[in-house]
């Protein structure tokens, strides 16, 4: 057993605490079922309701009858072809793909990461209130292990849910881009791993001193909206108004989503951009995880 070799190291208890969080999730049938259903609803409902692609589809751009009468059927055919080509061009230049649901699916993956990590942050408060945290603090487990286990379990959960989204997106009309190869999925997981590390550290840092659930809830609701909408989750950044672009351009979620879109749905991959995106998300993760661990040394014990 691996605990054997770890027993004298500083990391003992890490897997035990991580697994506790995970067990609470996969051993509770209702919670587990809901986490499976949630992405289906989001993608199926939001992905179709917010189908921005339909704005420029052939059905929404039909020729008025009197205008159509001036052309021969042959000319009309050419024009229709021209316009449907134009649609694809508009969609591709806006979303990087002709399929909005594919664009949206990637946004949903990042969105799921945001929500899962947010709730894992709140569990620190519950552990404090229910006395579990005090009990753990009275054992020789390293303070940073307590925090890292929370981060790790949130990351693993998010990655699992992201995989579900990708799988169910396929029957819902997900179209991989021309540059997609199965190996790119590993790249997507790398992005997810980094963003989850960063986000869960952020939310845990917010909660670490809290003894009541209301304050962090308010803070997180406040953070949640700009993080979601001032990002490329639903709409590309370069089509946003300037002030919103400024916010979206520093939002690590935008970098995550744009990077994942390159790997999954874009026709070509710009590798220098991809490197920049990895670097940005990587630095975000490193900085916030460090902050989280430093805070855990200072503030877990009052």
């Amino acid at each position: 057993m691996s605990t054997n070799s770890l027993s004298k190291s500083k990391l003992h208890g890490l897997w035990a605490l991580t697994n506790r969080e995970l067990k609470k999730w996969y051993k509770a049938p209702v919670v587990f079922a809901l986490t499976l259903i949630q992405p289906i609803i989001w993608l199926g409902l939001l992905g179709n309701a917010l189908n921005l692609g339909s704005l420029v589809s052939s059905s929404s751009i039909a020729f008025p009858a009197d205008l159509a009468a001036q052309f021969t059927p042959q000319q009309l055919g050419t024009l229709n072809q021209f316009f449907s080509g134009l649609q694809d061009q508009i969609l591709t230049s806006t979303f990087g793909t002709t399929s909005y649901i594919s664009f949206m699916a990637v946004g949903m993956i990042a969105f799921t990461a945001l929500f899962t990590t947010m709730f894992s942050g709140m569990s620190v408060v519950w552990d404090r209130r229910l006395g579990f945290l005090n009990k753990v603090l009275s054992t020789p487990v390293s303070r940073s292990v307590i925090i890292i286990s929370k981060v790790l379990s949130a990351t693993l959960r998010s990655m699992f849910q992201a995989s579900i989204i990708l799988i169910i997106a396929v029957p819902l009309g997900f179209q991989p881009g021309a540059a997609f190869t199965p190996i790119n999925i590993l790249g997507v997981f790398a992005f997810l791993f980094l963003i989850c590390l960063g986000l869960s550290s952020l939310f845990i840092a917010i909660n670490i001193r809290s003894t009541r659930i209301e304050t962090p809830m308010a803070v997180m609701t406040l953070l949640n909206l700009p993080l979601t909408f001032a990002s490329s989750a639903f709409f590309p950044i370069d089509r946003m108004p300037g002030w919103l672009q400024a916010v979206a351009n520093v939002n690590p979620l935008s970098y995550t989503m744009n990077g994942m879109r390159q790997l999954l749905i874009n026709p070509t991959i710009d590798y220098s951009q991809l490197a920049l995106q990895y670097a940005y998300v990587g630095i975000f993760a490193a900085v916030l995880t460090t902050i989280g661990i430093v805070l855990s040394w200072r503030f877990l014990n009052k």
């Binding site: 003992h12 605490l17 051993k27 006395g131 009275s138 014990n301």
Partner: protein
Amino acid sequence: MSEGDTIKAEGLTKVFNGSLVAVDHINFNVKHGEIFGFLGPNGAGKTTTINMLITVLKPTEGKASILGYDIAKQHDSVRYSIGVVPQEYTADEDLTGIENVLLCADLYGIPRNVSKKRAADLLDLVELTNFKDKKVQTYSGGMRRRLELACGLINRPKVLFLDEPTLGLDVQTRTATWNYIKTLKKEFGMTLFMTTHYLEEADALCDRIAIIDHGKIVVVGSPEELKHSLGGDLITLATKENEDVTELIQKVEHVKEVRKEDGTYRIKAEFGEVTTPFIIEALRKKGHTVTKLTLTEPTLNEVYLEYTGKSMRDAEESREAFFAQRATMRRARGH
């Protein structure tokens, strides 16, 4: 303070938010192998003291050591040698009994091959073997408390801390829990530090008690010493004859005070069970017949009243503590 002191506190103080003095320069020592109790109302500073000793809270001032390890500087040595049974039910509801005990073992880095055997033995000891594979949410209050005991003992601690061990339990379960605590102490030869706001609990379990009020220790002693310090037992008697025998009783050794009220004598005396026969004998020699007699030993309630100037009552407490206690009591009742 002798070398046998397992726990030693000198001027231990905790101030919250710069102004709220929860524990105010307390000094005490716990001897090897004894059960030492902190008795006081809610909000007196009992849990704060425990939390400092178990290295969860940092003292604002003062020092304390456990088995010679400084609680502020030698965290890990302290943590490896103590076991903690918190006031709250900290076992995870979604996990089974055995999973919870093994989780505790992992927190001490005990290898699985060792912890499996230990967990099985401990669950056997607290009579939960038949329920070990059931989720904790199906457990009763008494079972949960026993599971917490098993968790607290997984690292074979030399000192066990019990914070309000029977909070919210019904009378029968409480007595049963006391028996478990006594058995475990005998089995493992530990030193126990416990807090309680139940007088009868302190009386039944503790070798020595410190009464704590408003963050200060008011008095320390064994339950008997504390009761004796009140000036002894109360004897009430009546005689057949109408003649006043107050002076006669007064002369008996160890009698401290005699008052006559409506034909009965209320006598305050030390060592009541020994003194009473002497009183009867003295009266009979002078031809008096005792018709009615009761002997009452002072309870800790009277001790408490004497030293704090009030009966046990709930002091003001924090919202957090209140929430935790309510949650514990709810779960104890199986909701």
